[in-house]
């Protein structure tokens, strides 16, 4: 067998150079740009991204204690046939019938309503429950006034005191003082969760009759139910 001539080798090298240059050219420009032939594409028609968000149903009692502190009826200005009404939303002490020995923070103004915030991510139905006035006070006193243990809701849009954010996106279930009656009572059927409007308040009223004495503590329970 004859050896390959230098001329043949030179030809092969020239071919190698051409192939190398062509390959580089295609690689730099992209095959599809040069040939106008699609070199590949997705088989599926659509891509899918799925996000799962779990509902969180939760409220926070920003203020969970309505503490009226220590005080007494002022018998010199209120008759025994009249109860003395004090609320958690009075900016000044009710000097006509009640005098404070001390209040929650040694300041009458510190008596604050229940402050609720929806910290979940869904609307909720809010209800309230506590014992009735008879059980709350236990001793109803000797006067002929009307003992009271009542509540009233408020948000920035409606309510007895109209305060804070517009937490209740539907109408409040009541805007008047309402007796606790040992049953769940509706407060707001659609308590909002959006940050700018996710707060509301519940105030407390106590009607203290002549002759009542002693420390009175009672739990108030707020229930929430998921609303679709």
């Amino acid at each position: 067998m004859d050896e390959i001539s230098n001329k043949t080798l030179a030809t092969l090298l020239v071919v190698a150079i051409v192939i190398s240059l062509t390959g580089t050219f295609f690689a730099m420009r992209g095959v599809s740009q040069v040939t106008n032939i699609v070199s590949g594409h997705a088989v599926g028609g659509q891509g899918t991204a799925q996000v799962n968000i779990s509902q969180v149903v939760e409220i926070s009692l920003v203020n969970d204690a309505v503490n009226f502190g220590t005080g007494s009826r002022n018998g010199s200005v209120v008759n025994s046939d009249t109860e003395c009404n004090i609320t958690s939303n009075q900016t000044t002490a009710p000097t006509n019938c009640w005098q404070y020995t001390s209040a929650g923070n040694d300041n009458f103004d510190a008596v604050q309503p229940f402050h609720l915030e929806n910290i979940g991510n869904t609307f909720v139905n809010l209800t309230i429950n506590s014992t009735n006035y008879s059980n709350y006070f236990g001793d109803l006193g000797t006067g002929t006034g009307t003992p009271r243990y009542m509540w009233t809701p408020s948000d920035g849009n409606e309510g007895t005191f109209t305060q804070g954010e517009n937490g209740c996106t539907a109408s409040l279930s009541t805007t008047a003082w309402t007796n606790f009656d040992e049953t769940e009572q509706n407060v707001c059927p659609r308590f909002n969760f959006e940050n700018a409007n996710d707060e509301m308040f519940v105030d407390i009223l106590l009607g203290i009759n002549h002759g009542m004495e002693g420390v009175k503590n009672e739990n108030v329970v707020f229930f929430i139910y998921r609303v679709d």
Binding site: N6, A10, M28, A49, V51, V57, T70, K216, Y225
Partner: protein
């Protein structure tokens, strides 16, 4: 064919081949990765994003309850 080219010419071509190959490879490797013709392909023009909000686990009706307290110390009437 009576004549042949010299070995020197063959060597020059060989060196030239190596140089072209090395330069080409270096050039390609130094390019950022690029996807061409993604628009003209006629492939997917729409995607789908689905959001699924699941009910809180174990929650059907009552979600939770929170407890507050109302307190007062009523002293003897003055």
């Amino acid at each position: 064919m009576d004549y042949d080219i010299s070995k020197r010419t063959v060597m020059v071509l060989l060196v030239l081949t190596l140089v072209v190959s090395i330069i080409g490879t270096w050039t390609i490797l130094s390019q950022p990765t690029t996807i061409y013709r993604t628009i003209e392909m006629g492939g997917p023009s729409a995607g789908e994003v689905s959001v699924s909000i699941s009910p809180a686990e174990g929650v059907e009706d009552l979600a939770s309850e929170s407890e507050g307290i109302v307190s007062i110390d009523i002293q003897k009437e003055v």
